[in-house]
Symmetry: C2
Subunit: 252 residues, 2 copies
Amino acid sequence: MKTVHEVSKLAGISVRTLHYYDSIGLLSPTETTEAGYRLYDEEALGRLQCILLFRELEFPLKDIKEILDSPNFERNKALEQQIELLKLKKEHIENLIDLATGIRMIGVKKLMSFEAFDTRKIDEYAKQAKESYGTTPAYKEFEEKSKNRSKEQEQKLGIDMMNIFADFGKLLEHAPEDAVVQEKVAELRAFLTEHYYNCTPEILSSLGEMYAGGGSMTDNINAYAGEGTAEFTAQAIREYCAHCTGGQHSLE
Amino acid sequence: MKTVHEVSKLAGISVRTLHYYDSIGLLSPTETTEAGYRLYDEEALGRLQCILLFRELEFPLKDIKEILDSPNFERNKALEQQIELLKLKKEHIENLIDLATGIRMIGVKKLMSFEAFDTRKIDEYAKQAKESYGTTPAYKEFEEKSKNRSKEQEQKLGIDMMNIFADFGKLLEHAPEDAVVQEKVAELRAFLTEHYYNCTPEILSSLGEMYAGGGSMTDNINAYAGEGTAEFTAQAIREYCAHCTGGQHSLE
DNA sequence: TCTTGACTCCTACGTTACGTCATACTTTAT
DNA sequence: ATAAAGTATGACGTAACGTAGGAGTCAAGA
């Protein structure tokens, strides 16, 4: 004979749950002491096991009660039904995942008019920047990296990129030279270096001016991350480059 | 400006839902008439669209409220989170399906000690029955049918079979010669004919005596479908055969 | 023996997203 | 003018407990 506390620890449920199951007649204690304490024996524990099993399978407690008080074949029928129901649920969730993924993609595409971050564009900027300083082995690295990526991976990178801008948008109240902002710039640079090419201060600077250049890219960044984010980011990048390489800007 | 009724029809939701959304501040009407009637304009309808979209994705209304009142990037982050959450749910449900399927199998196997319905056993009975009347082309049909089935298909047939016995178990209060019971016998015969071999009255009769023969098969049937079902089914089959071919029994 | 702390009881409200009355008022159609 | 249809508010019900409160119970130490 175990008390509610002991049973609750054994079964990994709360005492309240035992009270509740008693109150709805799903699991009555084997006996009660004169003081009204509930006591459960092994058989009751077995029934509780069954209850928890069916509960795990998302059966409503009402149904569990019926199932446990009915013959074997009813249980199997119930199980089959539940399997069907779970399969339907799974299908539904799969549809939801597709829907949500689609919406996110629409949102991302619409807000940043995806071409703006299309590899080829960045490619061009990289080329231009590289040309002014000569072609290096790093450019080949970039080509390899970008050619091996799937459409899906590109999209994920675009999203990550937008999230970095979203972070800048949250820092608008800070000064561009603030440590937190400068760290974000460093993060942006690291991100570009990892996924595109070795992002030198010169390239970074060039990109910064592109962000704030007033084109659709500027608009998209501001629409997504908050008005003024593009300009703020550009300013932060200028600060970063000034302290990074001695103050020269690659744009003139 | 549309009234609650019009909006509800347009959006496919209830008037109560509009009341509720107003009460929790999720969607306030554009204005209210002097009599207190709610009126919604196009913008409100747009917001409602968004609400229903996020609701479809199983966002809690509280979260939807926050999301709609926050900038774009928050929405995308929320979407990503929700996608993760939905993926977890999907995984969970897949586990549940496996669990339920496993339990059902255990139940079926344990209750009917699956060998009893193993094709080979029925095979033997079929052979014996056939031998007394000579080998016919139907036997080859049976061999082909049973050899081409997968383990899974066999199990499904076993379950279907048990469900037929469960049906007999529900008819215990009827007389074996009752029309409903006799129809069940016909169903059993059709089932065997479809999945195993052309089930003549002789074979059917033989199987009936096997069910009630007192072995493990009898016990399993009774345990699963209710005490006395095996004997009841056998009696019903005798009745069926008596009216079917003029009264002779194939067993002596 | 008294007290303390751990344990138990029951009552009752909070949770989510509405459905379902019940009652009373307004608008529209005849 | 009157009936039908629409609207508003308020309150209770749902599933499966969580949480809080107040009070009684039990075993053990001082």
